[in-house]
């Protein structure tokens, strides 16, 4: 550990490289988090509307309500009466007020709006569920944006894919960097190691400092990167300023979760250890 201080310039440089590389991993994890969050928020707003026949009987309606409510995966159900439907339409399309005024009767059907649980909504089983209810007598039509469902599925898959793809590449790169940094350190202290061997030091005595060094570098690097990420996330919106008021939902960036932070630190500590070991096994044969 003595040596961490002795070669402080080189090790600071190393820690910075490692932190930078972890920062990138962190940025993508955070991006993935944000996408996932956005996706889940959008999914929460997604509903399936079952439109009712105008001439539906009370018994039929009750059966439909029951069926919708009993469906697994339905979070909760809203009944939208014909009047409410009309009011909503008026609100959405104020420029069509004239048309509506000219109408004799309310053309909108009543409907049950089922808010589906996220995991169900994004899955294929939602389709079967909807088909089943659509078959009930009294259900005139079903409306839901299947495209949106698909987009959300894809987006979520995309986020996960980006996470794994880039995360994988960058974690490999970090491992490569740590292992090389330790190798450089071992290399720089070749003479010292050689002399330690000459005076009868045991393998453990020689290896321990390097293992500790790898560990420390890994932990330091990841801690530094977490701090940098935090600063980045906090400063970024400030830097962009007020002009982004309308983009609030995009830039309400979220930090990594606690378990992700701990995972990153432990992972990088392990990486440091393994990196040291891999360097040591090559250089410290005898």
């Amino acid at each position: 550990m003595n040596n961490l201080w002795q070669y402080r310039v080189r090790n600071l440089f190393s820690a910075t490289i490692i932190a930078l590389s972890f920062l990138i991993v962190g940025v993508f994890f955070s991006l993935s988090n944000n996408l996932q969050f956005l996706a889940s928020q959008l999914a929460e707003n997604m509903v399936v509307a079952f439109f009712l026949n105008p001439g539906i009987s009370a018994r039929e309606q009750a059966r439909i309500e029951e069926a919708v409510k009993a469906s697994p995966g339905v979070a909760h159900v809203n009944f939208v009466s014909r009047e409410e439907a009309l009011a909503r339409f008026q609100k959405s399309f104020p420029e069509l007020e004239d048309i509506l005024k000219n109408l004799g009767s309310n053309p909108f059907p009543a409907s049950y709006e089922a808010v589906l649980q996220k995991k169900v909504f994004l899955s294929e089983e939602a389709l079967g569920l909807i088909e089943g209810i659509k078959a009930l007598p009294g259900v005139e039509d079903v409306q839901f944006n299947r495209d949106w469902v698909k987009k959300m599925q894809s987006l979520s898959r995309l986020a996960r894919a980006i996470g794994f793809f880039l995360g994988g590449i960058l974690i490999l790169a970090s491992f490569f960097i740590i292992s090389n940094v330790i190798r450089l350190n071992v290399f720089a202290r070749k003479n010292e190691i050689e002399i330690l061997r000459l005076v009868g030091a045991t393998n453990t005595f020689i290896r321990l400092p390097f293992l500790l060094e790898g560990l420390t570098l890994g932990v330091l690097g990841s801690a530094l990167s977490l701090a940098l990420l935090y600063i980045l996330i906090k400063l970024f919106p400030l830097y962009l300023g007020q002009s982004l008021g309308v983009l609030q939902e995009f830039i309400n960036l979220r930090y990594l979760s606690l378990s992700q932070c701990i995972g990153l630190v432990i992972g990088s500590a392990l990486m440091g250890l393994l990196g040291s070991l891999s360097s040591l096994s090559r250089f410290l044969k005898i």
Partner: protein
């Protein structure tokens, strides 16, 4: 590791016990060139040997093989009853702790002070700091360098660096002391003094092997002299009643 363990099996008190046995040792660094060829040698505990011969005759190679820094191409070496070629890598440290060596190129650590350079072998043994300080000071006083204890080796003259290497080799009080041209960069007076130090260590029962070109030194101190030429022993001179 307790300090006492380093002398296990090596610190026998019998006189006339054989310390270093070389059987048919040959070393070939490159195809067709024998740096050493069929060396047979028995060195008893407490003996004082000079190894001499022209440049490139294999002196350094012989010391390195005894120190197990390199392995011979053929032959066997037994040190204090242990065949060191059969010693697994992770046990070499036991052998090393019983030996001290002065390399021809010193092998000092230039980013560590003279004190630490000498103390490194004591750190490894886990000796208390106070004791380390005492022993390092004494070793440096032996080679007349105690006033440069807190210098860096790069601030020393070449001969001073050589004396640091000597101090490092003797600080452990090893059973076997190997020295490769330990006075090559010293003036004759100092060279004389240093070899006297080796002689003094030898008088305490340690086995000493010194490579040297210096005819005058050898003439004066040489109990036992080994002449090497092109990797072969071309002569031995053994005084039956050495001056010790």
């Amino acid at each position: 590791m307790p300090a006492s363990s380093r002398s296990s099996g090596l610190g026998a008190t019998f006189e006339n016990i054989v310390m270093i046995e070389l059987y048919h040792i040959s070393k070939q660094y490159q195809e067709g060139q024998w740096a050493l060829l069929d060396i047979n040698l028995h060195i008893k505990k407490g003996e004082f040997w000079f190894i001499t011969g022209p440049s490139g005759s294999g002196k350094t190679t012989l010391l390195k093989i005894i120190f197990r820094e390199i392995l011979p191409t053929r032959g066997q070496i037994v040190i204090d009853g242990i065949n060191i070629l059969r010693l697994p890598d992770h046990k070499i440290w036991k052998l090393r702790r019983s030996m001290g060596i002065v390399f021809q190129d010193f092998r000092l650590l230039f980013h560590k002070k003279v004190f630490d350079n000498v103390a490194i072998g004591l750190y490894v043994l886990g000796i208390p700091v106070k004791e380390i300080r005492r022993r390092v000071f004494n070793a440096l006083r032996l080679v007349n360098l105690h006033q440069k204890m807190w210098e860096y080796p790069s601030h020393l003259s070449y001969g001073e660096q050589q004396r640091v290497a000597i101090a490092r080799a003797v600080v452990n009080e090893p059973q076997i002391l190997l020295a490769d041209e330990p006075t090559g960069n010293l003036d004759p007076e100092l060279a004389f003094e240093i070899i006297s130090v080796f002689k003094e260590i030898n008088r305490q029962g340690k086995t000493v092997l010194i490579c040297s070109h210096d005819k005058e030194l050898i003439r004066h101190f040489g109990d036992k002299i080994l002449f090497l030429f092109k990797g072969k022993i071309i002569g031995k001179e053994v005084q039956p009643f050495s001056r010790k």
